[in-house]
Amino acid sequence: MYLVVLTVHVLALTIFVGTALIIDLRFLGVFMGYVPTSVVLARLLPWSLRGFFLMMISGLLMFYASPVDKYNNLFFQAKITMLLLAAVNIWLFLKTEYSTITEWDQKTLPPIRVRLVGGAALTLWAAIIAAGRLIPYQQYWFN
């Protein structure tokens, strides 16, 4: 059962971060600059969110399987902290730059603050994946 949930978690992560990667690369202005940012967001964000919710549900089930171990795991703690930071990053974008999207929507290179959001998001997704993959290594490295 745990293996099934873990597999779903990895597949959900692939959909979530895979689509978020394309959105963030568009924010950075290095990928698909010829497609308006609003179009990329409108078409990919729903899939990113679907992947995210599936990832959260499977993640909560895995946490529920061994809550104390996970709670005490340094990599798990780092992963959750970075997830919260990623949420703050998205919230800041929605509160600030998103309200002016009509001004930079068609631009190949979005404003510097949007690029910073994209860069921060990419760094955080990479760190979240790394921390998640390292969760089993706490036992080998620290215990």
Binding site: L11, T14, V17, G18, T19, L21, V40, W47, A130, W141
Partner: protein, 156 residues
Amino acid sequence: MSLLEICHSLEYLPVLIEMRSSPWIFPIIAILHLFGLVIIGGAVVVGDLHLLSYRLTPQLVDRIAHDMERLLIAGLLVMVITGVPLFMCFATKYYYLTPFWVKLSSLILVIIFTFTIRRNALTRYRENPVVKKMIALTSLSLWTSVALSGRLIGFP
């Protein structure tokens, strides 16, 4: 020399012995391997959604297909470059693991499928929509098989 003997000799190359004895080289390569899968995931999802009639934009299809293919190749390169040392590290063990052979077969099949049938379908406007959907579902199933069997390798 049998395949098993080749696996055995690969596993005991000095560099692989070094890699196994290090507490951090294997996990770092495994993380990079996962990055490769995620990059592939983005490119595959966008391409297959397009075939399922959920287009990013009705225009610029050729350009988007080309960019998604570039992203897919980048992900594949990361996955293969990191996958080879991960395999070599425990080659003898993997030789006996069914999920490893399932993953390898699915990967070879999906690469051939992606760069032949799927590539043509992505840029062919008059293709039957039902055929396009079948191609997208085949692609998604094969990639799921790669990810799923890859995950099972960690649970012998």
